[in-house]
């Protein structure tokens, strides 16, 4: 939660610099301040919230320690086959979870980079602090601005149309917290509209005009009034833009409505296809906090292919594949990189609830035609002497290295300006 300041609204005293034109944030009238991204490069961020279990996603099936630590949850080599019976092994050390057959196919095509052993120094096992750390790229967790919000402030101010949006969720992800940019989140397109009394359609313009007049006021930026007012203004303008655009989308791809990530990615496709200026899209799916029932356990026996984790990874895999097909159909697949993250991995050792407690390292998936497929980073040692007091392994790749690689190699940014330091290139982009 950003720091708040005292309110100055009393009797209008908070109105400052009346008459100064509001920055046209993401709808843009000013010119971009810096080079901006290569004109048509797009980034889709997929957050898997709750702490995805990296060790049952990219599965080290030959690691005897993995099996020893997870008598109930570990997958053995014969179990690593998808629903069609095809192997999900991707190397002589690793396989993908059997629910991820579609991502296995994309991997085989060279379009998936998996960075393993991802974490950061002094890992925090709180969901909320660790998420903040990832959102802000600040390991204290106290920074206010998100890494993509900082990027938007540097590179997207003044861009026309809708350069960035979070789709499908009720919350604006902290990654998008910015100083100047107001990045919209859109739960669904139907509701994303300014609605007035339908009995008097002739009065609608009066309503909009009066609303816009009050929402065009300028307030001190670090007050609640300042935040609310500029968000109100942009929401109604954005609604009009989005309503005009997205109705133009058609596709042969059918996104199943029971899969929440597919629903969000359909919205992403609608935006990307109809609003070519869209650069950053953010979606998320929750439910990964599998302290219990990570796998189903009828009669006390683990049934690894039917538990909650299996369902979620299947949704992830299916949705990503559909989106990739859709982008290919629309000629956009060469211009899109998808980046998946989660606030931490889970503990190598299982608990008694058919689940796992909070861990440190996890894996990140980078997906898309521009990605150089393969496995990056090192498999963290699960040897007892290499685990910390809580039983968690050490990271080998700092997540900020992944961010820096994307900023420098894909978004044409100076990663140092966004991240405050220089990080090595992980190598998954040419």
């Amino acid at each position: 939660m950003p720091t708040t300041r005292r309110q100055f609204i009393k009797r209008g005293a908070g109105l400052v610099t009346v008459g100064v034109v509001m920055p046209r944030i993401w709808l843009g009238e000013a010119r971009a301040q810096s080079g901006g991204p290569p004109a048509d490069h797009r980034l889709l961020v997929i957050q898997l919230a709750g702490g995805n279990d990296g060790f049952n996603t990219l599965i080290p099936y030959t690691d005897s320690r993995y099996h020893a630590l997870r008598p109930m949850l570990a997958f053995t080599e014969p179990e690593l086959h998808d629903a069609q019976g095809r192997s999900t092994l991707i190397s002589d050390q690793f396989g993908l979870h059997p629910a991820m057959g579609k991502i296995k196919n994309l991997y085989d095509q060279g379009n998936v980079a998996i960075v393993q052993g991802v974490g950061y120094p002094n890992p925090n096992l709180s969901h909320f602090l660790s998420m903040d750390i990832w959102h802000t790229a600040d390991v204290s967790g106290l920074a206010r601005k998100g890494w993509l919000g900082k990027y938007a402030d540097l590179a997207l101010i003044g861009s026309p149309g809708l350069p960035a949006a979070a789709l499908g969720g009720g919350e604006l992800p902290k990654s998008f917290n910015a100083e100047t940019a107001v990045i919209p989140n859109i739960i669904n397109f139907q509701l994303f509209n300014f609605i007035a009394d339908p009995s008097y359609p002739g009065d609608y313009n009066n309503q909009i005009n009066t609303f816009n007049a009050s929402a065009s006021r300028t307030f001190q930026t670090d007050t609640f009034m300042g935040s609310i007012n500029k968000t109100a203004f942009e929401s109604v303008r954005g609604a009009q833009l989005v309503q005009r655009a997205v109705s133009g989308y058609t596709s042969s791809v059918v996104y199943p409505d029971f899969n929440p990530l597919a629903v969000a990615l359909k919205m992403a496709a609608q935006i990307m296809v109809t609003m070519p200026e869209a650069r950053l899209i953010y979606v998320q799916m929750g439910g990964f906090d599998h302290h219990s029932d990570q796998v189903a356990h009828p009669n006390g026996q683990p049934s690894k292919l039917t538990g909650q984790h299996s369902v979620l990874l299947n949704w992830f895999s299916e949705a990503v594949n559909l989106f990739h097909v859709d982008m290919t159909e629309h000629g956009l697949a060469d211009k899109l990189v998808m980046m998946q993250w989660s606030e931490f991995g889970r503990r190598p050792g299982e608990n008694a609830s058919f689940g796992t407690d909070h861990g440190t390292v996890g894996s990140m998936f980078l997906i898309g035609n521009p990605v150089k497929g393969g496995i990056y980073g090192n498999h963290p040692s699960l040897a007892a002497t290499q685990l910390d007091a809580a039983g968690n392994p050490r990271f080998s790749v700092d997540f900020r290295e992944v961010y820096a690689t994307i900023l420098d190699r894909w978004l044409g940014a100076d990663s140092r300006a966004v991240l405050g330091a220089t990080y090595p290139d992980v190598g998954f982009l040419a």
């Binding site: 009720g170 919209p184 008097y200 309503q207 006021r217 609310i228 219990s292 608990n351 609830s353």
Partner: protein, 484 residues
């Protein structure tokens, strides 16, 4: 001490309750302490009118009877309470604790969410230790944070972590910044709560809500644990007592009370002093929630300028408050109404979810993100849509379920000219304090026809039905209106 002004009384009622009508505000025209006590000592307030409405509108006697007992019905039930209660602070505190001990129907069956709601209401102003113990032993929390599967030898850390991080101390002490607990403390405390279970009513028990807590001795880890540097065979109850007595807990709770009821606290020296002032009350009163809150509500911090409209309305405050301020009618509808797919009666719960606050189902264990957490482009547009919904309802049928405002109700506040009418509705809906230019724009709106010409204002029925309703919508869309 002086009698509260109208604005101060309205402020108090917004924060301790869900705002109110002019007459409800005027009832609080008393000295600060008396006004606060009149809301705080709610057990002395007759609430039989609400109770008889609930009795007519709901049948929760059998939780297995799905059409009468389900999540939509629970939401309809709680909104009915909040709109009609004569004890608004009771509901506000229950809502506070629901957010504090955020537990969700996404994982926990509705029957346990309902039982937890009773637990929160019963212990809302109790000693904090008693509330915490009751919540910890309640089936909802034992399911939500996996206590029932946490056993000796392989404890589950979910509860042990959130107990400290979210329910009591926070990761860091709110004043000193010191780390409140270590990962080792999480693991050791997890062991203290092993074997915690509950059992349900027997087949013949007429009380289908009769769930009882117990500890399975065979699953409890009875060896020594080291917690915060002290070693003993601690039980879960021991830990609850130890944590409740820690200064970090007092500070954390004060901070959360302020964020919800007063204003968000910064990390300045002055704000830390404020935390300490009320943390002292917590310690001195032997952890009495009631005494801490009373001290806060009668304080100069609460009545000062920083506090006035220093919070963002939550969706529940927005919805219930708008109905109460405007004197809109809310008819909850009949038993089982929530499950009929009949959006009219269930719609308050549904709208609240669209605005980001689905009762009985917060997104995660950290609860709803308050204040600017309620504000983003989608949630703001949904607020405006709720405002439209509230003024669109016009039915004159007293038996029709839903929310509606009759023209007669609006006429009572409509004056002979546009200027006074705008002022009256701004006062009614807050009082909303805004600038002169905005007031003039609202006045012009009232007098503008469909072609955009200024044609003047008449307080006749067609104008009320069109433009006064439109005015209410526009006031509810003002950024000022989103503040509490």
């Amino acid at each position: 001490m002086a009698i509260l002004t109208y604005e101060e009384a309205a402020h108090l009622l917004r924060r301790m309750g869900f705002a109110g009508s002019p007459s409800q505000i005027e009832e609080l025209s008393k000295e600060r302490g008396s006004a606060v006590d009149s809301l705080l000592n709610y057990n002395q307030i007759d609430n039989s009118a609400m109770q008889s409405l609930l009795d007519r509108s709901f049948d929760f006697s059998n939780p297995d009877e799905f059409p009468k007992f389900n999540r939509a019905e629970l939401q309809r039930w709680w909104f009915t309470r909040m709109v009609y209660t004569s004890r608004p602070f009771e509901e506000k505190m229950t809502l506070f604790w629901h957010n504090h001990f955020a537990t969700a129907a996404s994982k926990v069956p509705e029957i346990f969410m309902f039982i937890q709601n009773q637990t929160l209401r019963t212990h809302a102003l109790d000693r904090f230790d008693s509330l915490l113990a009751a919540v910890a032993k309640d089936p909802a929390m034992l399911i939500w944070l996996d206590g029932i599967t946490s056993v000796r030898g392989r404890p589950n850390e979910n509860w042990a972590r959130e107990l400290q991080e979210l329910f009591t101390m926070g990761i860091q002490d709110a004043v000193s910044g010191a780390t409140s607990y270590t990962e080792f403390d999480v693991q050791e405390i997890a062991r203290c709560f092993t074997g915690w279970k509950f059992f349900g009513p027997s087949r013949t028990d007429p009380n289908r809500f009769n769930y009882q807590f117990f500890i399975n001795p065979g699953e409890f880890d009875s060896t020594a644990k080291t917690v915060y540097g002290q070693t003993a065979n601690f039980s879960g109850d021991d830990i609850i007592g130890i944590i409740s007595a820690r200064r970090a807990t007092a500070r954390f709770l004060v901070k959360k009370f302020f964020e919800f009821f007063v204003y968000p606290l910064d990390s300045t020296a002055a704000d830390k002093a404020t935390i300490e002032k009320f943390a002292d009350v917590y310690i001195a009163s032997n952890h009495s929630i009631r005494e801490v809150l009373r001290a806060i509500f009668v304080s100069d911090e609460f009545f000062g300028e920083r506090s006035r409209f220093g919070l963002v309305k939550s969706p529940v405050e927005l919805i219930v408050g708008s109905i109460r301020m405007l004197g809109a009618r809310y008819n909850p509808g009949a038993i089982g109404r929530g499950d009929r797919g009949d959006q009219v009666s269930y719609i308050l719960g549904g709208f609240s979810a669209l605005l980001g606050q689905e009762l009985f189902n917060p997104a995660d264990v950290s609860g709803w993100k308050l204040n600017l957490g309620w504000i983003n482009t989608s949630l703001l547009l949904n607020r405006f849509t709720y405002a439209a919904f509230q003024i669109i309802g016009r039915t004159r049928d007293l038996n029709a379920p839903g929310v509606w405002v009759a023209n007669d109700q609006l006429r009572a506040y409509t004056k002979a000219n546009a200027k006074k009418t705008v002022q009256k509705f701004l006062t009614l809906l807050g009082p909303v304090e805004t600038d002169g230019k905005t007031v003039r724009q609202l006045r012009d709106y009232l007098q503008t026809d469909d072609r955009g010409n200024l044609v003047g204002f008449t307080n006749d029925d067609p104008t009320i039905d069109k433009k006064v309703r439109g005015l209410v919508h526009l006031i509810m869309c003002l950024s000022e209106f989103q503040l509490n």
